[in-house]
Structures are given as C-alpha cells and as structure tokens.
C-alpha cells in the first residue's frame, strides 16, 4: 500500500508542471461544478433524479461541509497557534500533498470568509431541499 502511494508521489513529482497546468484547472472547475452546482440542482429538484443520484448529491454536500470545516480550522489554528486538524486530514496526511497553511493575516481572513460563505450556501441548500422534499417545513 505504502509503495503504491510512494510511486504515485514519484509520478506526481515527475509530472508536476503538467499536472499544475492541465489537471488542476480541470479538477478545480469540475470540483466547483460537482460541489456547488450539482448539489444545488439536487436540492432544487430541477430534474427528476433517481434516488441514487440524490444520495450522490448528499455525499457531495458532505464534502462541501468538509471544505468549510477545513477552512475554518485552518484559520483557527493560525490565529491561536494550535495544531488543529479535522480527522480526514489526520487520516490522509501521508497520502495527500502537504497543504500550504495560511501565513498572512489576509489569508487568515480569506479562509474565514471562505468557510463563512460555504456555510451560508450549505445551509441555504439544506433549507431548499427540506422545503421541497418535505412540503410545509418552511
């Protein structure tokens, strides 16, 4: 298992520039679509999706909250100088590349507002979904 990740890391190191130029923008755009647009479509019940698709939307929704928590914890750990990591970062640190911590105060505020905005959007989607799937909730 470890050697498999080792070879993956070697591959990433060798092709870093190509990955940065091609893979990351595509991954960023598709991640944005999946996490923010697709979850909204599921919540709004735009199309009649099968139930597995709703489950997939919920799975993506959870990931959205993981990003919000991650950003908030980054900002909190920078502000108070404590090592605070959500469990998924602790578990997957050997696999994931080392993430840059926010150094400046501007980055700290950026992480805070990112988490805040995702939090508001996440709750908005939850309210929309509740009002549509459970009529009379709001």
């Amino acid at each position: 298992m470890a050697s498999r990740f080792g070879s993956l890391q070697q591959f990433i190191r060798r092709h870093r520039r190509i990955i940065q130029a091609v893979f990351f923008p595509i991954a960023a755009v598709s991640a944005f679509f999946y996490l923010f647009v697709l979850t909204a479509m599921v919540a709004l019940d735009v199309l009649k999706y099968p139930s597995w698709f709703v489950a997939f939307g919920v799975f993506l929704y959870v990931q959205m909250w993981m990003i919000a928590t991650d950003s908030a914890m980054d900002a909190v750990s920078e502000l108070y100088g404590i090592k605070l990591l959500p469990w998924w970062r602790r578990e997957f640190v050997p696999i994931l590349p080392k993430r840059a911590q926010p150094r400046s105060r501007g980055a700290l505020i950026g992480y805070f507002f990112l988490s805040y905005a995702i939090g508001i959007y996440g709750f908005a989607l939850a309210y929309v979904a509740v009002s549509r799937y459970f009529i009379g909730s709001l």
């Binding site: 909204a40 919540a43 709004l44 908030a72 900002a75 909190v76 502000l79 105060r105 700290l108 505020i109 805070f112 988490s115 805040y116 939090g119 508001i120 959007y121 709750f123 908005a124 989607l125 939850a126 309210y127 929309v128 509740v130 009002s131 549509r132 459970f134 009529i135 009379g136 909730s137 709001l138």
Partner: protein, 63 residues
C-alpha cells in the same frame, strides 16, 4: 411559505446566520427547526471568531 427557490434559501440562510430573524420565512417542521438552531449557533461562533481576529489585529498593532 411552500417551496423555497435558491435565492429564497440563501436569503433565509443569511437572515438566520446573522440572527436577524425577520419572520417572513418560519421553520415549521422539527428538521427545519433543528437546522435553524444549528445555523444560529454556528453564526454566533463565527461572530466570536471574527471579533477575535479583529482583536488580534489590534493587539499586534499596539505591541
């Protein structure tokens, strides 16, 4: 109120997290009420955190 659209959801979310509570949209079911409780608590935590950032800025300036 019936079904919320996305703008309505964002509006209600902002009004709730800011602990304003205009009352034009009201949670009726237990699930919706639990969500509102969670968001209000989160909003208070965010406000505390925001003011602690400002306080740390001011402390650094004074030192």
């Amino acid at each position: 109120m019936g079904e919320l659209d996305l703008i309505g959801g964002i509006y209600f979310s902002v009004i709730t997290i800011a602990t304003v509570g205009f009352g034009d949209i009201v949670p009726v079911s237990s699930a919706a009420r639990l969500m509102v409780v969670g968001e209000v608590l989160l909003g208070v935590a965010y406000a505390v955190f925001f003011f602690s950032i400002i306080a740390s800025f001011l402390r650094e300036k004074n030192v």
